[in-house]
Amino acid sequence: MRSAGWRQAVAATAAGLLLGGCAALPEMPPAVPEDIVPTLAAPSLSAEGSDQLSPDGFDAVQRMAVRIRNVGCDALSTGSGFAVDEHTLITNRHVVADSSALQVSTYDGRDLDVSAASTAALADLAVVRTEDPLPSFPRLADDDPEQGDEVTVVGYPAGGRLTVTAGSVIGTTTDPLHENLGEVLVTDAPVEPGSSGSAALDEAGDVIGVVYAKTTDGRSLLVPQSTLRGMLDDASAFTTLEPC
């Protein structure tokens, strides 16, 4: 009896081990997939700055700037300007004053026909309408900049080649030239005669002001965008410019 019991115990133990061992046996390998999708993103070519580029390789900042030649009755002068819509550009009143004809050219040297010009009485601002479409135009910033904000100026200093300069907003002041009602912006972005009418842009590329003068200590003065916006919203603010 003891021998039969011992055998049953051994058999039960062996069967238990067999069953338990089967559960621990390795599974058969799965099929190797025919195609493997990588978990890492594929490397891409750098698209740095490509969002700003046009098909001709110039960025929006350069494409919106125009050079203005003021053919006066006895003199010749040049200034800068920038588009605010497809047929309208902004510059300074003193850039277009005393002219018999205005000649506008773009960043790539194309000449645009001018249809009309008008000047503001309460600010050194002028609006010039073109027959031909302007290549690009920025939007006006929602607010005037704060002290320390970065500023980029794009224009034609000294009537030369298209130039982009950078600086920062120093603050505001009353207009030392008494050309503008209200306060004007002061920046340390370098400008020269001929830069008048240049757009001053913030980091987002929105217009924060219009360059109209340079101080004796090398700082630039801007008509703030709030003044420009107020003038553009008031149709009576501008009067038609008569040729000399």
Binding site: A11, L18, P26, D56, R67, L76, G109, G159
Partner: protein, 159 residues
Amino acid sequence: MLALLLLGAIAVAGYLWQATTAWEEHAARWESDAHAYAEEVAVLRSELDGVTAELVAAREQLDTATARITDLADEKAQLGDENVASQQYLDYQRRVSEAAGVVATALGQCTAAQSQLIGYLEDRDSYDPDDLERFASDVEGLCDEANDANTQLQQELAQ
């Protein structure tokens, strides 16, 4: 009982042998695929390097082209300025020439009138003294205007 255990052990051994063989084939397939993918990655990496180099070169060419376009636009603008300035200078010269012609004509008329007056004065008994005096006054006025015009022209030319 032992026979059953033996059969079970044989079955387990057979399964393990099959599983081992299958895993070896599985590993070999993975290794083969890995080699193929590695070669593919190497080729793609080489192509990417080539495309990146082409992109860098294209960007440099684009920068050069845009700079050249900007320079050409500037040259065109400068030529336009010079053209306008030349036209204004020509207009000025034309106005000066016209003014010089007018002044020369006026001075000539003055000279002629003075000569005529001298002739009258040499034969003053033949003329009414009041007429002579009026004529002399007219000649003086004409010569004053001619001299004023000449002075203005000289001042303009001196600027």
